[in-house]
């Protein structure tokens, strides 16, 4: 696979190295000449000391035959433009952008970036899993990010405790599909009685979250 990596910071540097080690064809673009030279000395001639936002240099780097373009600079606006140019101008089948401000994720998806990696979001998710302060955890985003898998940890006092699943007012655009009780997974049936300590797994649109929280966690919990 031919991968074009744009941005020679720590992420781009290690990404390029790993890709080459894994046997992929790889070109790294880094606009800072000093930085580009330093990486070239180490990993060889795959480094191009040019700005990957410029169509001309993307072309020279072989964007028109790239299978994947990964934009991993530290600037969200640059990563957006790199992916859009790759997609629109060079018909690259798969574009991946690093996003620093998690609020940009949705916009980037909407603007055609295929995959979005948000280190901020990932660290946040990790912290929330270790210390479940929110009781509603985001486990994963699905597809284009239109759907997410959410885990709700039922606490004593949750409005759902003692109810059968069929009696819950699940918002439309959302579906409850499983429950983890005492570490054992089970499907959530219409007659399943929910208990304190259950972890309910839901799949739904991000905008269903508020209603889902009310149903499963209650309104006493800070968002």
């Amino acid at each position: 696979m031919f991968v074009l990596v744009v941005g020679g910071g720590k992420v781009g540097y290690y990404l390029t190295k790993e890709l080459i080690d894994a046997g992929h064809e790889c070109v790294l673009m880094e606009k800072d000449r000093g930085r580009a030279e330093a990486i070239r000395d180490e990993i060889g001639s795959v480094v191009i000391a040019q700005d990957g936002c410029e169509g001309k240099y993307l072309h020279e780097a072989g964007a028109n035959r790239a299978d994947v373009v990964a934009a991993v600079t530290g600037d969200d606006e640059d990563n957006l433009v790199i992916c859009q140019m790759a997609k629109h101008h060079f018909s690259v089948p798969r574009t991946i952008a690093r996003v620093n401000n998690p609020k940009n994720e949705q916009l980037f998806r909407h603007l055609g970036v295929d995959e979005i990696i948000s280190p901020t979001r990932m660290i946040l998710g990790s912290i929330e899993q270790d210390i479940p302060v929110h009781e509603l955890l985001h486990l994963a985003a699905l597809g284009e990010g239109e759907l997410e898998i959410i885990e709700a940890h039922l606490q004593p006092g949750s409005p759902a405790v003692g109810k059968v699943a069929a009696d819950l007012h699940v918002p439309s655009g959302c579906s409850l599909f499983g429950v983890i009780r005492n570490g054992a997974p089970a499907p959530l049936r219409a007659d399943t009685v929910l208990a304190d300590g259950d972890k309910v797994i839901a799949i739904g649109r991000p905008d269903c979250e508020l209603e889902l929280r009310l149903q499963l966690i209650g309104d006493s919990v800070e968002a």
Binding site: K56, Q84, M85, H88, K103, N104, Q106, G173, R205
Partner: protein, 164 residues
């Protein structure tokens, strides 16, 4: 009529003043407070410090439902991102982004935003001044698809999953 301008450089400040005089309700955004020194003391609009590529900042500036949104910072990519955010996420009616790289200026016109290319403008102006033939490079590229979802994407929401 409401205008939001991102970037209080010479062009941004001058346009802010001109629109303000013409009776527009103007909000100008810049990352540096010092940039607002370029505005004349008579400026009657609002100066807001903040990052023009941050959605919250643009909301505060009133980009939602603005009649005009101008992205005029020194960074081509920042302008591109601010303009697309204003147009696609916040629904600004008319958007212009300054993009000095002619290639990107043309490419983004095809993605639905009007782009202003100072490189082309100046080249044309200088050649005309010298009495030379000017090329056909426009200073402003009109959006090709108008207000549309670029790349043919649709903001489709997946159909509701069946309830449990």
């Amino acid at each position: 009529m409401k205008a939001v301008i991102v970037g209080c450089g010479r062009v941004g400040a001058k346009l802010a003043d001109a629109l303000d005089r013409a009776g527009w309700q103007v909000v100008i955004v810049d990352r540096l407070t010092a940039a607002f020194d370029r505005l004349p003391s008579t400026f009657g609009g609002t100066a807001l410090r903040g990052d023009g590529t941050d959605e919250d900042t643009l909301r505060r500036a009133g980009a939602e439902g603005a009649d005009l949104f101008l992205a005029l910072t020194e960074g081509d990519n920042r302008n591109i991102m601010a303009a697309q955010m204003a147009q696609e996420a916040l629904g600004a009616a008319r958007t212009v982004a300054k993009i000095n790289d002619p290639l990107r200026a043309e490419a983004y016109a095809h993605l639905g935003i009007a782009t202003l290319c100072r490189t082309n403008l100046m080249e044309t102006a200088v050649l005309a001044f010298l009495g030379q033939a000017t090329g056909n490079q426009p200073g402003i590229y009109a959006p090709v698809h108008g207000h549309a979802h670029p790349l043919g994407l649709d903001a489709a929401v997946p159909s509701s999953a069946p309830e449990a």
